[in-house]
């Protein structure tokens, strides 16, 4: 019997081949895909997020763990779809127009995936119009906007304005983050969520989804 704790530990260590092996094994033993995802992969990424937040592990280790996560997820995804397991929520994410910084955004995307979210990453230097088109197409629960410069932060306001004009503002929650971004700025532009780092972004996204589902 495969031990899902071992899977989550292998993920934490960033042992890609072990994660693949254990995921494969669990599937063969007909462990519920949802169980493998939640008790194996998500649990492992939760530890990664927590330790990263506390400076116990470092960026390269997070990137390595994420490779392991993707390795497992790749095998799991077809089974998850087959068994009708839904993601915790759908998130569209991107760095706003004029801004080419994507380390933080990538980290958040990865942690969200590790947290069981379906993530559509639009990349960097993404215009408000492009966000709008993607939102219309994918109908996400949350749109995540990133900026590292004060000169590009205004791109976040633009996305919100475009959403309002399109009559979509109440259809999606807006989350923002990045070095110059603060809770104060989020309140100012009417974004529902702000998180100071990647791990708390996952908590924030879960909270927002929770409030959506309660309605």
């Amino acid at each position: 019997m495969v031990n899902l704790k071992e899977l989550s530990e292998a993920l934490f260590r960033g042992d890609v081949s072990r994660v693949k092996e254990l995921t494969q094994l669990a599937l063969r033993e007909e462990v519920e895909p949802r169980e493998i995802l939640e008790q194996g992969l998500i649990k492992g990424m939760d530890v990664v997020g927590e330790k990263f937040k506390n400076n116990e592990i470092f960026l390269p280790e997070v990137l390595l763990a994420s490779q392991a996560m993707y390795g497992g997820l790749e095998l799991l995804q077809p089974q998850l779809i087959k068994s009708g397991v839904e993601a915790r929520g759908k998130v569209i994410i991107g760095t706003v127009k004029g801004d080419l910084h994507d380390i933080g955004k990538n980290l958040v995307a990865m942690m969200l995936r590790g947290g069981g979210f379906e993530v559509i990453d639009l990349g960097k230097d993404v215009s408000a119009e492009k966000f709008l088109v993607a939102i219309q197409k994918h109908k996400p629960d949350i749109v995540g906007l990133s900026a590292l410069l004060t000169t590009t932060m205004m791109g976040m306001t633009e996305v919100i304005t475009v959403l309002e004009k399109a009559g979509l503002r109440d259809k999606v929650k807006v989350m923002i983050g990045g070095a110059p971004v603060t809770q104060e700025f989020a309140d100012e532009i009417g974004a529902e969520g702000y998180a100071p780092n990647a791990a708390s972004a996952v908590d924030k996204a879960r909270e927002l989804i929770h409030s959506l589902r309660r309605k």
Binding site: N55, F58, L59, P60, L63, L100, I103, K124, D125, L149, T150, T151, M153, A179, P180, F185
Partner: protein, 266 residues
């Protein structure tokens, strides 16, 4: 090597607050300390302050110039802030290093007239509309294009500082090599053109960053680095640079090294 003090940068939490509250005493003390540590120029970067960047930049230039005599590096992605800083700068204290221009058409159109008007040296980043290329060949290609463009516009080669853009090694293990290779290529092809890097970004995301910063500055200097933005109050780092320059044959009769020794700086 031209040492530029990095500490007046609003991406450091404390500084943002002090600039927003216009804490003259704090900023002046920080400026003085960096010059005492060996900075020959001070970088002013308030790129993370959103409100009134031009006005705050002017306040910062005035405040810093009141207490130190070294020239300043006005560092902003915002054209208006650079322009505002230049307008009230006290030119008795040497020329401003304008930081920065890129190969982006819009950016060149705005910054170039300022460089010409004030006849200042300028930092040119190896990026264009498509962002920062991954490989050193592509970065050199952008540097090459920028150097040709700027010299065609009459900017002297020695006033051009190419910045190959240092990205953290924690996200791509080749990021230091890419910078080192670009530095070498620029100096090989254009010996008169100068090179510059911001040092600390290399170690972002890793523990004991000073070790990586120290090693990187030595490697970069050996690869043709002319100027560096760093923490000049870090005595170990400054001593290391003195030793490096001596070993690279840039310190005739070891004069600077020995002077630093007598001043207790080693």
């Amino acid at each position: 090597m031209l040492i530029i003090g990095e500490k007046i940068n609003s991406s450091r939490k404390n500084i943002k607050e002090k600039v927003e509250n216009k804490d003259t005493e704090f900023i002046q003390e920080l400026a003085r300390k960096q010059v005492e540590g060996g900075a020959q120029m001070l970088d002013l970067n308030i790129g993370t302050i959103r409100k009134n960047e031009p006005e705050r930049m002017q306040w910062l230039v005035r405040t810093v110039q009141e207490v130190v005599d070294v020239p300043l590096c006005i560092d902003s992605p915002n054209y208006e802030a650079i322009k505002a800083g230049l307008e009230i700068y006290n030119w008795d204290k040497g020329k401003v290093l304008i930081n920065s221009v890129t190969a982006e058409r819009e950016k060149l159109k705005l910054i170039l007239p300022l460089v010409k008007k004030y006849q200042c040296p300028v930092v040119a980043l190896t990026m264009n509309e498509d962002g920062i290329p991954q490989g050193f060949q592509e970065r050199f290609k952008i540097a090459d294009k920028l150097i040709k463009k700027l010299t065609n516009e009459g900017i002297p080669a020695q006033d051009i500082y190419i910045d190959p853009l240092t990205l953290p090694v924690s996200t791509n293990i080749q990021n230091a090599n890419i910078v080192l290779e670009t530095l070498k290529r620029v100096k090989d092809s254009y010996p008169k053109v100068k090179t510059i890097i911001g040092l600390s970004n290399i170690s972002y995301g890793l523990p004991e960053r000073r070790l990586l910063n120290q090693s990187f500055v030595v490697l970069a200097r050996a690869s043709g680095l002319d100027a560096v933005i760093l923490d000049s109050t870090d005595k170990d780092l400054m001593a290391l640079i003195k030793a490096t320059d001596l070993l690279l044959g840039k310190d005739e009769f070891c004069a600077h090294y020995l002077q630093a020794f007598r001043e207790g700086r080693l």
